[in-house]
Subunit: 351 residues, 2 copies
DNA sequence: CCCCTCTTCTGGATCGATTCAGTCTGGATC
DNA sequence: GATCCAGACTGAATCGATCCAGAAGAGGGG
């Protein structure tokens, strides 16, 4: 068993407080005694104040929690999530804070428990439409938090983008190029309706708020171009990763009037679409593809996409957590997006 | 102020123990009373047992620390590190454990402190040659840990690859293709010697053990092909990322006898090299490039590389931490590597 | 020589739970 | 009717520190 602070105190012949001060408040005791304490401690193999005990007494932990709505190990398959995390990490470094990545077990009760058991000073919640009442659980703990959810509550700190008009810009790009028969590719569009081609009666049926907003923006653009929602094809991918994107696009049958473009709600899905289409030969290569996020892999692949600033999103989220704005109304920050046109999109080929 | 367990106990009119049991040991009290306690707790806004206090009493935390030798926010620029982390996360999920990402401040003292203050049950240390005595600090805390260092101590748990022969296989691939004038590209070869082209008298001068081992393997292969170490060009990149790789390769002057190949010690550097060379026109395109790791971006780029299983490395590391082998001698696991030949490497072009 | 201040150090309360050896109660057993 | 027992609940000790009011002693000023 490792010695405790108590043991060191006895060994040196001073009080616990003094040993504690030797570590945490060097100005509270003579340099000489301090050195003697530190030396005996080292010699006894005392590992320094127990972080847990210290946290308990001090009332704060020195770590912030990062919550991903998806399975944690899955989160890293999306480069955008990784960039977000990078941004959070950067801010955390500056504040000498650690990051606790909390895996959320599937199922409501498990997720609640995970959030309740996390020893942190606050949470950054990545991209939840508050699935499973996670936000409420955090609120219940009374801890500060920042969301990137598409539906922040009025007083909540939030960082995000205008999902709807961002998606709209991608769709307008396609309509301007003449595309009218377009497939929309998103993750888990209707959770219980399976994957591949789906009938979605109404955009508002889509439960995931981010996806819903993006699809709504897309619908706006196409409506303006005279294309009804019901004339658009919806493809649902099983996961938000490249392979699932490719798989979903393969469900797109050629038919007499094949789609001339695929509009994906994330870059990983779009890249998967490109994989599938390029494997589909000349025919497939002509199909335009757009993505969303502008992850690092997008540029080399020539993917046209909507850029949102990933690291900045993470940095801003963490900043909002560490330095809450005095004025609560300044706690919702909307970041800009840009349409980045590359080679993956072009005019509709004449048949 | 949030109520404590004590407050709930008083409100219900039972002892603290009973409230505690209501949360942690449902079988220790009648279902009816338990429900009453839980109800009052909810109603009072009691957030459930404080995780820190619980950890202190129970003696374990439910989180493992992940340490990256580089700056934390930087770690994510290397896709291989991300895959490692993914593997660790997967194992952690299975064990209902969280991951604490600990940023290590630059400088020895800061890093020590960060490690000493981390509330975790153990550590996975990614790719350290034990810079700054981090391993010793962990050992001092008496916590279990797993390294991926190139130089594990005899009793330590470790997961890694045979760096030397893995690198050798890449170099042999190049010698077999006829390459004799080759540039070796690595991160931070001689930390104080700056970046770009460097004179390295001896492989053993390289301080970072992983880099040293890989370069030694490369030297083996070239020696066997009759090329002396001193005839190889060494390029040092400022960081282990794509941009730094590109920058370092630009330091390669054409000269009368230009290099015909670049052997990089990581894929991100190799991809940077490709960026730089491809920008260099026809001439540059002919230069063969090999990488190391086989990150997801390698395949699309056609990069010839040495594959090491990233996620498996992370999974194995975490597994070693969670379920220590009964026989300590089984605590060092070497994973296999494979040379993956793609289009970025080819025979020496005839001048 | 007394009072005051400063520095250095101490003791006890406290952070918020968990644990374990009991106590108490009501019912079954012989 | 005494004994035993399982089930339900309690109390005090404990985890390992930090904090704060205050004590002891040294030095300075009047």
């Amino acid at each position: 068993m490792k010695p405790t602070l108590q043991a060191v105190a006895e060994a040196v012949g001073v009080s616990r407080s003094t040993v504690s001060n030797a570590y945490g408040r060097p100005d509270q005791l003579s340099a000489e005694l301090r050195q003697r304490i530190l030396d005996t401690a080292r010699q006894m193999g005392y590992p320094g104040p127990n972080p847990t005990a210290r946290s308990l007494r001090r009332g704060f932990v020195g770590a912030i929690g990062v919550l991903f709505t998806s399975r944690l190990s899955y989160a890293f398959t999306d480069a955008f999530a990784v960039r977000f995390l990078t941004g959070v990490a950067e801010a955390a470094e500056r504040h000498d804070s650690s990051l606790l990545l909390v895996p959320l077990p599937v199922g409501l009760a498990g997720a609640r428990k995970a959030v309740e058991n996390a020893a942190v000073d606050g949470f950054c919640v990545y991209c939840a439409g508050d699935e499973g009442g996670i936000i409420d659980t955090i609120r219940g703990r009374g801890l500060p938090f920042v969301t990137t959810s598409a539906r922040p509550q009025p007083g909540d700190r939030w960082v995000g983008i205008d999902e709807r008009s961002a998606a709209r810009s991608a769709a307008e790009h396609l309509t301007a190029l003449g595309h009218r028969r377009v497939a929309l590719l998103a993750h888990d569009v209707l959770p219980d309706a399976g994957t591949g081609r789906l009938r979605v009666a109404n955009v508002t049926d889509v439960p995931h708020p981010t996806t819903r907003d993006r699809l709504a923006g897309v619908a706006d653009a196409f409506a303006a171009a005279g294309v009804a929602w019901s004339d658009l094809t919806v493809l649902s991918a099983a996961d938000n990763d490249r392979a699932a994107g490719a798989a979903a696009v393969r469900a797109l049958d050629a038919g007499p009037e094949p789609c001339t473009a695929v509009l994906a709600c994330s870059d990983v899905l779009a890249l998967g679409a490109l994989d599938a289409l390029r494997a589909g030969g000349e025919e497939g290569r002509r199909v335009s593809v757009t993505g969303f996020d502008d992850i690092p892999e997008a540029a080399p692949a020539g993917l046209t996409t909507v850029r949102q600033p990933g690291e900045e999103k993470g940095r801003t989220a963490a900043a909002l957590l560490f330095d809450p704005p005095a004025d609560a109304s300044a706690g919702q920050i909307q970041l800009p997006t840009t349409l980045v046109v590359r080679t993956s999109s072009g005019p509709v080929p004449r048949s």
